[in-house]
């Protein structure tokens, strides 16, 4: 399929997890892809995987928390592809979730780490890349926030940072609307990635009801998020800007228990097809 044909995309944190899923999906839809990640081995592997599947990709080692590094990455992408039309800001880490720390125990450096990787990185990347988007006649920015940015979450710094991602997304949409740049964000729920599984194990997702925390009873996959990212990056969403889309298996919508069925007015359910886990 060619839903992103003619586009050039930068995806940060694309060596692993959700970012990798997005990079693969963008390439599958015909975009040229720049994998920007701090992890050279896995970043190269992602780019390689795309090229092997017949797509176009480069890896550029980037520390998104460092303006100089992002500037170098941008130059490398311009040298390779000559334009940038899609930016996916995906880096972010729930540092606090690893040890379930409350705000009193949260160190200065953990706070800074959280905001540098998840939010300052967006400033760094937008500063370098938006001028190139404008040169190309416009583009689409897809930021990866989290449902922690919209609903009560245990991790204080992480959820404040992710709420910041939603806010900065709206501001970008306002600032560059007239340059034909749209900006939206995705709020993933629990996604099966190295980062996501360690957070889930710490129980940060436990809701009112321990055994039922989302409507769709499985972890999300990087592909689930990637499908939404393709939609928001493509022309299919050309009237959508400044909004956020939850990809959370209905976690946000679950505020009460689902009682067992007592009335039998519904037909017998066909067997649920296996999907994910």
């Amino acid at each position: 399929m060619d839903r992103l044909k003619g586009q050039t995309a930068v995806i940060t944190g694309a060596a692993s997890g959700i970012g990798k899923g997005i990079a693969l999906a963008f390439a599958r839809e015909g975009a040229q892809v720049a994998v920007a990640d701090i992890d050279t081995a896995r970043g190269e592997a992602t780019a390689q995987e795309i090229r092997q599947a017949g797509g176009q990709a480069i890896f550029t080692r980037t520390d998104v928390t460092k303006p100089e590094s992002v500037a170098k990455m941008t130059q490398a992408v311009m040298d390779a592809f000559g334009r940038i039309t899609i930016l996916c800001n995906n880096t972010g880490d729930a540092v606090e979730a690893r040890r379930s720390i409350r705000i009193v125990e949260l160190t200065d450096s953990e706070w800074n780490e959280t905001f540098d990787l998840g939010l300052k990185s967006i400033h760094n990347c937008c500063r370098c890349i938006i001028p190139h988007m404008i040169d190309s006649g416009g583009g689409s920015i897809v930021n990866i926030s989290s449902i922690a940015g919209t609903a009560p979450a245990f991790s204080a710094a992480f959820s404040a940072m992710k709420a910041g991602v939603i806010a900065i997304t709206r501001a970008l949409a306002v600032q560059y609307a007239d340059d034909n740049i749209r900006a939206n964000c995705i709020c993933p729920g629990a996604i099966r990635t190295p980062g996501g599984i360690s957070a889930a194990k710490q129980g940060i997702y436990a809701g009112i009801n321990n055994d039922r925390i989302r409507l769709i009873e499985r972890f999300g996959t990087p592909e689930d998020v990637a499908n939404a990212a393709v939609f928001l990056a493509s022309e299919e969403s050309s009237y959508i800007t400044a909004t956020s889309l939850a990809v959370d298996g209905g976690m946000l919508a679950l505020v009460s228990n689902i009682p067992p069925r007592t009335l039998d007015s519904v037909p017998k359910r066909a067997k649920r097809p296996p999907k994910g886990n």
Partner: protein, 263 residues
């Protein structure tokens, strides 16, 4: 391969505007479409447009305010295509926009009609279609709400009805999650449909700044909603349920002016 291959979809109000746009796109993505509309001619016209492009469609005269009419539509649809696994609850109207009616002047019958066509219709269609979805092994529902349902809107009954659609979406998502049915809604902003243009002209979208009410300086097209609906009904969104998607050109996010550029 289309994104809705082997699916059978019901679209209410498929004879005009956003509903027609959805019918045409769903068919282009491979779905067989049951066009349920009060106006049989309008529904037939949509069906003809689909057949012309090689798609499969069935126009069914249906009044979504009447349970028996919906039950009959479902029966006819299943008889024709064997099952139903997708539903778009799209009928709705904003009567208050016509005369910029405030609540004191709102007639009770207009209140009732607004609630019925926007909200009760969604209840009734779910009631009769969901059992078919369960038989089919699951399905997906997309309800057409409005940005008026979650941000201040001038029209009181319409806003309340659409907020109801959003709430109902979440509840039904919960009730039938285990039956493999996903339920989401779309909140359109100002759209270029006959009704939308009229509402727009009456100034119901006017916000802080009359000259600039949304970030993207155009009215939405039926196609914009149809794209979002295809996404929410397809397997691409199989981890998305109980949520809402704004398709509004950034109008609800617009709380500030866009200042002119200095440099």
């Amino acid at each position: 391969m289309g994104k809705l291959e082997n699916r059978v979809a019901v679209v209410t109000g498929g004879g005009s505007g956003l509903g027609r746009g959805m019918c045409i796109r769903f068919a282009a993505e491979g779905a067989k479409v049951i066009i349920a509309d009060l106006k049989p001619d309008a529904a037939e016209e949509t069906a003809a447009m689909i057949r012309e492009k090689g798609g499969e469609a069935l126009a069914v005269e249906c009044n979504v305010l009447i349970a028996e009419s919906i039950a009959a539509m479902v029966k006819t649809g299943v008889a024709a295509f064997g099952k139903i696994d997708l539903l778009s609850n799209n009928t709705g109207i904003c009567l208050e926009a016509r005369n910029s009616t405030r609540i004191v002047d709102l007639e009770e019958k207009d209140w009732d009609f607004t609630m019925d066509l926007n909200l009760k219709s969604t209840y009734l269609c779910c009631k009769y279609v969901i059992p078919e979805m369960i038989k089919a092994g699951g399905g997906a529902i997309v309800n057409i709400a409005s940005i008026a349902g979650h941000k201040p809107a001038f029209s009181a009954a319409y806003g309340a009805a659409k907020a109801g659609v959003i709430a109902l979406t979440q509840s039904v998502a919960m009730q039938y999650a285990d039956d493999n049915i996903r339920v989401n809604c779309i909140c359109p902003g100002p759209m270029k449909t006959p009704t939308g243009i009229m509402a727009n002209r009456l100034g119901i979208y006017k916000q802080a700044q009359p000259a600039r009410i949304r970030m993207l300086e155009r009215l939405g097209e039926a196609e914009d909603i149809a794209n979002a609906a295809v996404f929410l009904l397809s397997e691409d969104s199989s981890f998305i349920t109980g949520t809402q998607l704004n398709v509004d050109g950034g109008s609800i996010a617009m709380t500030v002016n866009i200042p002119p550029r200095q440099k």
